[in-house]
C-alpha cells in the first residue's frame, strides 16, 4: 500500500485551523486516506478526513505521521496531503 511520512509544520500542531484545512483536503481526495503517528501499527490508523480523529491523534509541531491510501490516484493524493502537512498553515 502506498504510504508517505510527513513532519507536522504548523505551529499549533494538527489542531484547530490546520486540522480543519487538512481534513477538508483529505475528504476531497478520490481515495480514502488514513493517518497514524510514526511507529503506530497500520491497523490503528485513523480516517484522515475526520477532523475529530485528527484532534484525538494529537500530533504536535515536529511530530512525524504516516499517511496511507490505496487505489487509483493514491500516490497523487498522498503527495498533495504531505505538502499540506509540511506547510505552516497557522502562518497563512
Amino acid at each position: 500500500m502506498p504510504e508517505r511520512t510527513a513532519t507536522i509544520a504548523s505551529r499549533s500542531g494538527l489542531h484547530a485551523r490546520p486540522a480543519a484545512l487538512f481534513a477538508e483536503a483529505a475528504g476531497e481526495q478520490p481515495v480514502e486516506v488514513t493517518i497514524a503517528m510514526q511507529g503506530e501499527p497500520a491497523d490503528d490508523a485513523l480516517d484522515a478526513a475526520s477532523i475529530l480523529s485528527l484532534m484525538t491523534l494529537g500530533a504536535a509541531k515536529g511530530d512525524v505521521v504516516v499517511l496511507r491510501a490505496e487505489g487509483d490516484g493514491a500516490d497523487a493524493a498522498l503527495d498533495a496531503l504531505v505538502k499540506l502537512l509540511e506547510t505552516d498553515l497557522d502562518a497563512e
Binding site: 499549533s12 485551523r17 480516517d47 478526513a49 477532523i51 475529530l52
Partner: protein
C-alpha cells in the same frame, strides 16, 4: 407591568423587542428504538442527509463570519459530517437505535474523549455537543438551536449562551442579552462585556416573556421591565446619547483640570495586548506572565519565554509595559514550583516567595524579560508579586540589575509592604497596588469565600488607608532625591470601578490599570472631576465607617454615574 431582577454584568440602558432563543434540544429517550417500518439503511441515510444540511448551514455562517469566529465555525461545520461521528452513530442504528438517539450517544462519547484530552481539545468538546443538538433538531424538524435569524434589531432572551452561538452574534442586530440562567462569570457575561452589549444574567422567569414584547433592560442595575415606563424610555434615550462617548477611550487619562492619570490595561498575553492597544490603552499596567507557565509540568525555556514576552511588548512600542514576574501559588498552583499540600496557601510560598524554595526560576525569567525588552521598543518595567519587606525588595532589585533590567518595582499586596512603603520604595523604582490581595490580607477574608464577600471589597476604608500610606511612603522616599515621588499605580479590580478610580486618584495614585473595556468608562468619569474634588472624595471615603457607606457617599457626589448608567 412585569419586572425581573437579575445580575447586571455589562452596563447599558436600552429598549427593544424580545426574541426568545429556541429551547435547547431535549435528549432523545435512552433506549429509543427505530420506528416500526423504518429500516436501518433508511435511518442512516436520513441521518446523513440531516448531517449534510447542518454542515451546509454552519458552512454558510462561516462564510459570512471573520477571524477566530470563522475558524471555529469552519471546524464545527466539518464535525457535522465527520466520518468518525457518523460511523459510530450508524453502528448504533444498525443495532436498532433510533437515529436521534444514535447521534446523541455518538456525540457524547466523542465529546468525552476530547474533554479528557484537555486544553484546546476540551474546549472543542462543547462544539461537538452543539453539532449533535443541531442534527437532532434537523431530524425532528424543529428550529435549530441558536440565535434567531432576524433583520430587525432585538433583545435576545435565552437560558444561557453557548460558545458556538457567539461567532454569529451580530451586535448590529442584537441590542442586549438577557438570560434566565448563568452568573457573572458565565459565557454570556464574558461575551457581553467583550462586545460592549448591555446584559443581565440570572433573571429568573424571563423566559416566559412572549416574543415581540417590548422590554427595558438596565445592564448596570440588572433590571428588566416589560412595557417600559416613560421614565425608563427617557433613561434609554439618554443612554443612547452617552454610550457613544463610552465606547471609545481617547487615550488620555486626565482629570477635568488636566492632572494626568495614565489609564493602562491589564493583559495576559499578546492577543489581549493588541486588543488593549486598539482600545486606546496608554500602556500596560499589569502583564501577567502566568500564561506562559500554566498547565505545564516543567519550566518553559528562556527562549520560549522571551518570544512570548516580546509579543506583548511589541503591541506598545514607545509605551510603558509593567510586567509582573511569575505569581504562582494559592489559587494558581504550578507542579514544579508550589507545594499543593500547604495548609494555608494564601499565606504560603507564593509569588516572589517561590524563589526561596525553588531558586533559579525567577533569575531565568528575568533573563528572558531583559532579552525581550532589549529587542523591543516598549519601556519595560518589572515588578515582583507578594513582597513583604524592604529586604525582599532590595534583593529583587539586585536580581533585576544583574539581569540588566532598568526599572525594578514591587507589588503592594501585603499590608506590611504598605505600612513600610518608604523603606520598601527606597530599594526599587515604583510600586503597584494589587487591591484584590491587599483587601483579602487587610480584612483577613479569603477572596474565594462567598459568605465573606461583604468584607472583600476595596471600598473598605482600611484598604483605602493602606493605599494612602503607600502613596505617602512613596512621597517621603522621593522627596529626599529628585524631588518627585516614586510612581504608585493600582492594577486590581478597584481601578475598573469608575467611582473608586476617582477616589484612588484623589489618594495620589499615579496610574490606573484595568481590563481594557473599562478604560472608556473610567476615563469619562475621571474627566468630570478636578483633582481637588477627587481629593475631597478620597477624604470622604476614608472617613466612612463602612465600605457600603464609603461607596454610597462617593457615588452620591458623582451624579454622572447615574446619568451614564454606570
Amino acid at each position: 407591568m412585569q419586572n425581573f431582577q437579575g445580575v447586571g454584568v455589562s452596563p447599558g440602558r436600552i429598549i427593544g423587542s424580545v426574541r426568545q432563543m429556541p429551547k435547547p434540544v431535549s435528549e432523545p429517550t435512552s433506549g429509543e428504538r427505530l420506528a416500526e417500518g423504518t429500516s436501518p439503511e433508511d435511518a442512516v441515510a436520513g441521518l446523513k442527509a440531516a448531517a449534510q444540511s447542518v454542515h451546509d448551514e454552519l458552512k454558510g455562517r462561516a462564510d459570512t463570519a471573520s477571524g477566530d469566529g470563522k475558524a471555529v465555525l469552519e471546524a464545527t461545520a466539518l464535525m457535522a459530517k465527520d466520518t468518525m461521528l457518523l460511523k459510530s452513530a450508524a453502528k448504533l442504528i444498525n443495532a436498532g437505535s433510533s437515529a436521534e438517539r444514535a447521534i446523541w450517544e455518538a456525540g457524547a462519547s466523542v465529546s468525552e474523549m476530547l474533554h479528557n484530552l484537555g486544553g484546546y481539545m476540551a474546549e472543542r468538546a462543547t462544539d461537538v455537543l452543539d453539532v449533535r443538538a443541531r442534527i437532532v433538531a434537523e431530524l425532528r424538524g424543529v428550529p435549530a438551536p441558536g440565535i434567531p435569524a432576524s433583520e430587525t434589531p432585538f433583545i435576545l432572551v435565552a437560558e444561557d449562551l453557548a460558545p458556538a452561538d457567539t461567532a454569529t452574534l451580530n451586535p448590529a442586530v442584537v441590542l442586549a442579552l438577557v438570560t434566565s440562567g448563568g452568573g457573572p462569570q458565565s459565557h454570556t457575561a464574558i461575551i457581553a462585556r467583550s462586545l460592549g452589549l448591555p446584559a443581565v444574567v440570572a433573571a429568573h422567569g424571563v423566559d416566559s416573556v412572549a416574543d415581540g414584547s417590548e422590554v427595558y433592560v438596565d445592564g448596570a442595575a440588572g433590571f428588566v421591565a416589560v412595557s417600559p415606563s416613560d421614565e425608563q424610555r427617557a433613561a434609554a434615550t439618554a443612554w443612547a446619547e452617552t454610550s457613544a462617548t463610552l465606547a471609545e477611550f481617547d487615550g488620555n487619562g486626565t482629570t477635568a483640570d488636566g492632572h494626568l492619570v495614565p489609564l493602562l490595561a491589564n493583559v495576559g498575553g499578546a492577543k489581549d495586548a493588541v486588543a488593549a492597544a486598539a482600545l486606546g490603552a496608554q500602556g500596560v499596567g499589569l502583564f501577567r506572565t502566568e500564561f506562559c507557565f500554566l498547565e505545564r509540568d516543567t519550566e518553559p525555556s528562556v527562549d520560549e519565554q522571551a518570544a512570548a514576552y516580546k509579543a506583548v511588548f511589541d503591541a506598545f512600542p514607545g509605551k510603558k509595559v509593567v510586567l509582573r514576574t511569575l505569581d504562582a501559588g494559592a489559587d494558581k498552583p504550578l507542579p514544579f514550583l508550589t507545594d499543593a499540600s500547604e495548609p494555608n496557601p494564601a499565606l504560603g510560598v507564593r509569588g516572589y516567595r517561590t524563589d526561596f524554595t525553588t531558586p533559579g526560576v525567577l533569575e531565568r525569567q528575568l533573563e528572558a524579560i531583559a532579552r525581550a525588552a532589549s529587542e523591543s521598543e516598549a519601556d519595560v518595567w518589572v515588578m515582583a508579586p507578594m513582597i513583604s519587606t524592604a529586604a525582599e525588595a532590595g534583593r529583587f532589585a539586585s536580581l533585576c540589575a544583574a539581569a540588566g533590567i532598568q526599572t525594578p518595582g514591587v507589588m503592594v499586596e501585603v499590608p506590611s509592604a504598605a505600612l513600610t512603603a518608604a523603606t520598601v520604595l527606597r530599594e526599587v523604582g515604583f510600586a503597584s497596588l494589587g487591591t484584590n490581595d491587599l483587601t483579602q490580607y487587610a480584612m483577613a477574608a479569603d477572596r474565594q469565600l462567598g459568605p465573606l464577600a461583604e468584607l472583600n471589597t476595596p471600598w473598605q476604608p482600611a484598604v483605602l488607608r493602606l493605599v494612602q500610606l503607600t502613596v505617602e511612603g512613596a512621597a517621603q522616599e522621593g522627596s529626599g532625591r529628585e524631588g518627585t515621588a516614586k510612581p504608585v499605580g493600582v492594577c486590581g479590580e478597584a481601578a475598573a470601578d469608575p467611582a473608586l478610580a476617582v477616589v484612588l486618584t484623589g489618594l495620589g495614585v499615579t496610574t490606573l490599570s484595568m481590563t481594557a473595556r473599562s478604560l472608556a468608562a473610567v476615563g469619562t468619569v475621571l474627566k468630570t472631576v478636578t483633582l481637588e474634588q477627587a481629593q475631597e472624595l478620597a477624604r470622604l471615603a476614608l472617613s466612612a465607617p463602612s465600605a457600603l457607606e464609603a461607596r454610597d457617599w462617593v457615588r452620591a457626589k458623582l451624579p454622572v454615574l447615574e446619568e451614564l448608567g454606570l
